[in-house]
């Protein structure tokens, strides 16, 4: 199991963030938004599939600022809470976090994790291209 520090370092590389704090912020924001929009049952199901240290972060992820409880779109919620300048930047945060999860899980778990809110499911697939498995495939 990798440490949280190593995990955030890797997220920092995947997202080309300039500071580890940005990686941490992105991870917690993405996980919070997902938790918020999933049913309790689905959230529990995904948690079981997550690798450490993401599982621990999933448990800790909560909103600590004002948010729109009625918002049903994950990306819209993340864009607003993360102060992203445009929607694609918020999508990118999801892609980066999903890429980090892909790197730490096997194919079976990845399939299970796909029970995500509809708007972000394609991002989980797209994340393959920036995960190490994706870029290594590109190289070969």
């Amino acid at each position: 199991m990798i440490s949280r520090k190593d995990y955030f370092d890797r997220v920092m590389v995947l997202g080309q963030y300039c500071y580890p704090e940005r990686a941490e912020e992105a991870v917690l924001l993405v996980l919070s938004c997902l938790k918020h929009l999933l049913s309790e049952e689905a959230a529990r199901g995904i948690k079981e599939m997550l690798p450490e240290p993401v599982r621990g972060l999933w448990e800790e992820a909560v909103f600590n600022n004002n948010y729109d409880e009625d918002e049903v779109d994950c990306i819209t919620l993340a864009k607003r809470l993360g102060n992203y300048p445009y929607r694609a930047a918020a999508e990118r945060a999801f892609e980066v976090v999903f890429a980090s999860i892909r790197e730490l899980t096997d194919e079976q778990r990845r399939e299970a994790i796909k029970t995500l809110p509809l708007t972000v499911q394609p991002l989980f697939e797209r994340a393959k291209s920036c995960a190490i498995d994706g870029s290594a495939e590109d190289f070969l």
Binding site: R10, Q16, C18, P85, Y86, R87, A88, A89, R92, D138
Partner: protein, 590 residues
């Protein structure tokens, strides 16, 4: 709505170049600039993105990729707009970079580098860093300074981290060194960083020795590029320098250059505040510069202006038209470059519009900058329509309409109440100068971390006495007389004939206190000298005079004579606009 206001609005905005003293058609010949070509090329690239073309250099087993194809199309339109082939190649590679294309990928074959892709698309030979000039900052130097210093150092001392004579036959030059710890962990990063420091330092020294402020941005870029010309320019590096498949020598080498130049570790994108690692950007652009061919000074101006989407641009020397100054419009490409960056990232048109509007907040004169951006976008549409000019026109059209309408209504009311064109323009010019002074005082207080309580221009006119030619007596830009008072941190400075007397004397005597204090007003004076870039104040007043019955030619001549500071140099569009206002007025039958 009064007919005079309608006629004035339509006449002033009928053609993009009526609102500036700049010569837009000459911009299409490559004479001094090719910025409209950059606007067009940005649209070309955006349209290719819309078609689903892949903006990625990949290690695919094929002779050509989508990026080659896009580069050819962008270079073609740039050259049609007067760009020299090497300048077109550099501009294309830089635009593609900001659109999201990676600068390099590869193994021995294919080994694709974005600068080389653009150069080969332009069909030109490779160049050397020693032949790359810097942007003109009054004077200019070249990468020769970096190259010279590096080779002198290589001659005087041993810079590699080991004794190269120990390398056995068959090992030196082989993967034994290049793809292992010797090369990746020691030789490339350690030597590269040493060379980049030497090159960057030499560039900064050369700038200063040639009478310029050191340009940290260009020094780091050419220092890095000169180093990459010697070391392996795209090798992977040891894990202590960065993760495998992510970090290569350009970024590692650039770290040293960035530090040597005193640049911040992180820079930001205008309008979005997105963070970028400075060393990554410098490394990426240095390798583009190294491979693009041999640009001219004009090409380097455009290169810098394309990069002026970097928010810290003004402080670091990354272009000059992105704000806060209102530069001559032949520099302006920040809007299309930023729009292309956002388009490549997947931003929607509405998001691009919102960010372009936010970018306008960074100018001392936001209204003038909005109008300037609008008229350039409209002129660029004659060359190449596309999603970027669409977005930029939507972003700036409301601001432009608001600015022209307000001025037209004000001019109408003033002239209706009996003011002559002369009286109106004296008032408008005074207000314009005061607005510049207060805006610069406010923004420069933050920049300099000083309290600039006020800037008062006491006398501003053409004819400082340096020249006797009548032309210089008439036009502010050619012999400007400025008396100014400024209060900085509680101390009042009062200067008479600032540009012809005070500033040169202080500088030649090495009077640091005066020169430091001048920092508080220098930008305001520069704004005045560049005021003709957006001449809407003068054009609207003159058009209103023509619409209200004044002879159009006389209105134009009187306006140029009275507003001799804010129009700063002869304007071809002014006479055409006043004539049109008169024509329109005669045609309105309601």
């Amino acid at each position: 709505m009064e007919r005079e206001i309608i006629a004035t609005f339509r006449a002033a905005t009928a053609k993009p170049d009526f609102l500036t003293t700049e010569k837009f058609d000459a911009m299409l010949g490559g004479w001094g600039v090719f910025n409209l070509g950059v606007w067009a090329a940005a649209n070309v690239i955006a349209k290719e993105i819309s078609k689903g073309k892949k903006l990625k250099l990949e290690v695919t087993n094929e002779p050509h990729t989508d990026v080659d194809d896009i580069a050819r199309k962008a270079i073609k339109v740039l050259m049609q707009c007067g760009a020299d082939p090497a300048n077109a190649a550099l501009a294309t590679a830089t635009l593609l970079y900001w659109a999201g294309v990676n600068v390099q990928c590869g193994i021995p074959c294919p080994n694709r580098k974005l600068g080389a892709v653009a150069r080969m698309a332009a069909g030109i030979p490779s160049g050397r860093v020693s032949s790359i000039p810097t942007e003109k900052l009054n004077n200019k130097i070249s990468g020769f300074a970096a190259t010279l210093a590096i080779y002198q150092a290589l001659e005087k001392e041993h810079l590699a981290p080991f004794d190269s004579r120990l390398l056995p036959l068959g090992i030196g030059g082989s993967p034994f060194v290049g793809h292992t710890a010797i090369g990746e962990d020691h030789l490339f990063p350690k030597l590269g960083q040493k060379l980049a420091r030497i090159g960057t330092r030499a560039m900064m020294k050369a700038y200063e020795s040639a009478g310029m402020r050191r340009c940290r941005w260009m020094s780091a870029l050419l220092g890095t590029a000169a180093a990459l010309e010697i070391i392996h320019p795209d090798a992977y590096v040891g894990e202590e320098y960065g993760q495998f498949l992510v970090t290569r020598t350009p970024e590692v080498v650039a770290r040293a250059a960035v530090e040597e130049a005193g640049m911040p570790e992180v820079i930001h994108i205008r309008g979005t505040d997105e963070e970028l690692k400075t060393a990554r950007v410098i490394g990426d652009l240095a390798i583009i510069l190294k491979d693009s061919g041999t640009p001219t000074v004009v090409g380097m101006i455009m290169f810098n202006e394309i990069c002026s989407i970097i928010k810290e641009g003004a402080a670091l020397g990354v272009g000059r038209a992105g704000g806060p100054l209102l530069l001559p419009l032949n520099h302006w490409v920040t809007a299309p470059s930023l729009a292309l960056y956002l388009f490549g990232k997947g931003a929607t048109q509405d998001e691009i519009i919102s960010i372009i509007r936010k970018m306008m907040d960074g100018y001392f004169q936001k209204e003038d900058a909005t109008v300037a951006t609008n008229i350039l976008a409209r002129r660029a549409e004659f060359i190449e329509r596309g999603p970027l000019t669409d977005a930029i026109i939507r972003a700036t059209e409301p601001g432009m309409c608001n600015s022209i309408s307000k001025r037209a209504i004000y001019a109408y009311e003033q002239m209706k109440s009996g003011k002559s064109l002369t009286e109106l323009l004296e008032d408008v010019q005074k207000r314009h100068i005061e607005a510049i002074a207060s805006s610069v005082a406010r923004m420069m207080s933050k920049v300099l971390n000083k309290e600039i309580e006020y800037i008062k221009f006491k006398n501003v006119r053409p004819g400082a006495g340096r020249r006797t030619h009548k032309f210089a007596q008439r036009h502010f830009a050619f012999d400007a007389y400025v008396d100014v008072e400024v209060k900085v941190d509680g101390k009042v400075y009062e200067w008479e004939n600032l540009l012809a007397k005070v500033a040169p004397e202080a500088l030649l005597k090495g009077d640091k206190e005066t020169m430091d204090a001048l920092g508080a007003v220098g930008m305001a004076v520069t704004e005045l000298l560049n005021a003709g870039a957006c001449s809407m104040d003068v054009v609207v007043c003159a058009c209103m005079a023509a619409a209200m019955g004044m002879d159009p030619k006389e209105a134009a001549e009187k306006a140029a004579e009275v507003a001799n500071v804010i129009i700063s140099m002869p304007s071809q569009g002014l006479k055409k606009a006043t004539q049109l206002a008169s024509d329109i007025m005669k045609g309105l039958d309601f």
